[in-house]
Subunit: 101 residues, 2 copies
DNA sequence: TTAATATATCAATATAGATTGATTAAGTTT
DNA sequence: AAACTTAATCAATCTATATTGATATATTAA
């Protein structure tokens, strides 16, 4: 009677999915991803637009980057971030499996 | 230069999306939704299958129900829960908008 | 070299939420 | 009615993480 979505070795996948969800369930981080949809932005654009203290924006960017949802490139003083679409799609697909979307 | 996903009145939508994500980003809750994919289950089936203490399962079920992701019906001693597909789809759609899935 | 700007890091605090244990409530069986 | 089963609730604790303030690092400009 085990539901097949949770059968066999899907424990690891569930954990992966929830880790992804935890990361994007923070309002500022979801906004950052949202802002990056329209192309790469430097940190100062991001924190000014989101009205966050600089260090807080930097922190959330790090969280997103550590999970490989965004990438960065340095240009002079500035650091530009871009979204990693394929990574996000990967997790969305995983989630799909569990929620039958 | 405002990215259109965050323009005008989308603040409320972002909040709605993150609330949804917070709820399903808890491993036990995602598992519950997963288990309910295969049809309605009573609480005792759920906590035994997920290997949770009864009160903890009950707690997570309440969180899911309060957010209208599941519904319940009482039958004698037992309470049966079912998934609310349209509700979940609604939030998935919302998320879609922000993440460009 | 000094000053200014952009970003990152670190320690401390605050807060939200998961878990546990004990209890209550409701329905069922004997 | 008494005993039992299923589920919900409540208070207490534990844990994770968001936020803040201060500081450090790197790059550019004067």
């Amino acid at each position: 009677m085990k539901p097949n979505c949770c059968k066999n070795g899907s424990g690891k996948n569930i954990k992966q999915a929830t880790e992804f969800l935890k990361i994007i369930s923070e309002e500022n981080r979801l906004k950052i991803l949202c802002v990056l949809q329209s192309g790469e932005k430097c940190v100062c654009e991001i924190w000014k637009y989101l009205k966050l203290p600089q260090n807080l924006a930097s922190h959330h960017l790090k969280v997103l980057k550590d999970f490989d949802l965004i990438s960065s490139r340095k240009d002079g003083l500035k650091v530009f971030y871009t979204i990693n679409r394929q990574s996000i799609k990967k997790y969305a697909k995983l989630l799909n499996k569990f929620l039958n979307l």
